[in-house]
Symmetry: C2
Subunit: 344 residues, 2 copies
DNA sequence: TTGAAAGCGCTACCAT
DNA sequence: ATGGTAGCGCTTTCAA
């Protein structure tokens, strides 16, 4: 197997020093147009590709960012299309700026992030961690640019991309209330109520829910909180619990996948949506417009969220000015077929 | 900002040479237990992390693999949960073997794969390319371990992970035929019929469809092929075309997302599934069990596919014995609610 | 405008 | 069992 072509080969072929070759590769100027042309030509002929590993060793810049996503029980990444959309945005944004991305599923409890130093990552996008999580402290020690997505960290030192979660949740709830619903079950995810404040996104949405209730003068009832995983399965299983509650007429799932689970189980049990129960989700997955009935939901632009995060990260890395460290993307209730007037 | 701790610091602190430190890091043995312990202790104290970039420069091994996925029009990765499941499998398998993965969306027409040499990638997982594609030749030049997923390359030199596409398609079609259907429209994706042989997966499935028809003595009718994108939108749009065809009673979509699009449009037009039309998909996305009605489909284990691919790749990289270069994973018709007896 | 050379952090060979 | 050192491919300073 023949050795790779290095900068030395190019220099020899061109009869110049490697320093000069380096200068043309890196467009430093200070090379005569003539030799520049010649070297470029030779690079092309030889099919030379600079070795980023070597460059990185010297410059301490890898043009590589990490995207970390929490994994579930057996070490598998979460089965929610949300992440794919987010990743699509990040990937696209990174590609535009000639960065590459390393994707990693992490176990928050044990991850040390040693790969960040090992790989000399220039930055990190961290998805869905929370105030008080063990990872925050470890991440701080890394001392590299980080953008947190959906994480709600209190300190305004952190760069964050979030969503108008509270407002979106408020709108969803208000929307249901205006339809006449007052007993509204919520699927918050698998978190005990007293732990909610530690789960930023869920907490915000919970607050939004309470905001709307309060505004309408409806008493908050913690029985309405269903604590099951944010997943199809979780949504599915939640229905049996909801039916044990009295007079519930609407369900607000903090995720679209959860809402889809609800729809399935409702249908199995012969419960009519939206005639008997209204269901609203959160996310507006592209698939949510294709369920039957189509899902009313709080829409966010997930791909845009990924792009916003990576843009903020790369700007940070490149030392560009960043107007604000915390960005909150807007939401929008999309009215479809799973919601309707309260039956009573 | 303080400089990172290097092997030199560890060596100094321990009063040994860097060679010895290197030996303990790489578990080469030939170090006395006593010094080994000591060095390990110091590494821990100092919080030293080896610099993989430097190691890589020396060893020419990056412990990094690439996963490349074709992008759509505006440079966005395809909006199909399939890829996320596949990625989940790859990521999990890579993590188990301490490899990291770089994910890249590529434009097949222009991609040169220069990043492979630049980053010294140890291997590549290539998804959904095809015989005769421009990328094959370029990939060959790379001269690194590659595993092709869903690619159907003729030469048995290539390492490939595929599916029993033809058989799965045969089973799906046969299943419909046994229900009494004979006019079965198929959604192949956006490929002209005469180009099908160049699209491995689609071609195989097309062949399987024809196999079943032939077996049942049903004439093949190329009008039954609907050429629209493999997507929710494509499936949705296909319905209007299908309805122009005479006597069609069943639709076989080569993807679940396509089938979901069909379901939506059918419902909008008041067409009953499965009473008037049977619909069957392909993939068994986790979401397909949550549509309404739930989707009959040809099931494949996508996560397992990703794992199989990465395992084969890493075995190749590590020089392990690989029993066979081409693996075909099995499929399985999952009968749900979108299919039923032919109305006539 | 160009070149010589140091050195990034590490591994691996060869000595001791 | 341990150490000295060349060198991986590149960037960067300094000198010419």
């Amino acid at each position: 197997m023949k050795k790779d072509i290095s900068i030395v080969d190019v220099a020899e072929e061109a009869g110049v020093s490697i320093a000069t070759v380096s200068n043309v590769i890196n467009q430093k100027g200070r090379v005569s147009e003539k030799t520049r042309k010649k070297i470029l030509q030779i690079i092309d002929n030889l099919g030379y590709t600079p070795n980023l590993t070597a460059r990185n060793l010297k410059t301490r810049r890898s043009d590589l960012i990490g995207m970390v996503i929490p994994v579930m029980k057996p070490g598998r990444m979460q089965d929610n299309p949300f992440y794919w959309d987010l990743l699509a945005g990040v990937e696209e944004g990174a590609r535009d700026r000639r960065f590459h991305i390393i994707l990693m599923g992490i176990d928050e409890a044990t991850e040390t992030f040693s790969f960040v130093k090992e790989r000399q990552l220039d930055g990190l996008i961290v998805v869905g961690t929370n105030e008080g999580s063990q990872v925050i402290e470890r991440l701080n020690k890394l001392n590299i640019p980080i953008v947190f997505v959906d994480s709600y960290l209190a300190s305004d030192e952190y760069y964050q991309v979030c969503l108008e979660d509270r407002y979106g949740s408020y709108c969803a709830t208000k929307y249901l209330i205006e339809l006449g619903h007052s007993k509204i079950a919520i699927l918050t995810g698998e978190v005990p109520e007293d732990q909610l404040p530690n789960y930023g996104v869920l907490h915000e949405r919970w607050l939004g829910y309470k905001d709307a209730l309060a505004e309408a003068g409806i008493a908050y009832d913690s029985q309405m909180i269903i604590q099951l995983p944010t997943s199809l399965e979780g949504g599915y299983r939640s229905v049996d619990r909801i039916l044990q509650l009295t007079d519930v007429t609407a369900v607000f799932s903090f995720s679209d996948v959860g809402a889809m689970g609800v729809l399935k189980r409702m249908k199995e049990l012969g419960k009519k949506v939206p005639e008997e129960y209204s269901v609203i989700g959160f996310d507006n997955l592209f698939i949510s417009n294709y369920t039957s009935p189509t899902l009313t939901t709080v829409a966010q632009d997930i791909v845009q969220k990924g792009k916003a995060a990576v843009t903020m990260l790369l700007d940070q890395i490149d030392g560009n000015h960043i107007p604000q460290r915390k960005v909150s993307l807007s939401v929008d209730v999309v009215e479809r077929e799973t919601t309707g007037p309260c039956k009573w």
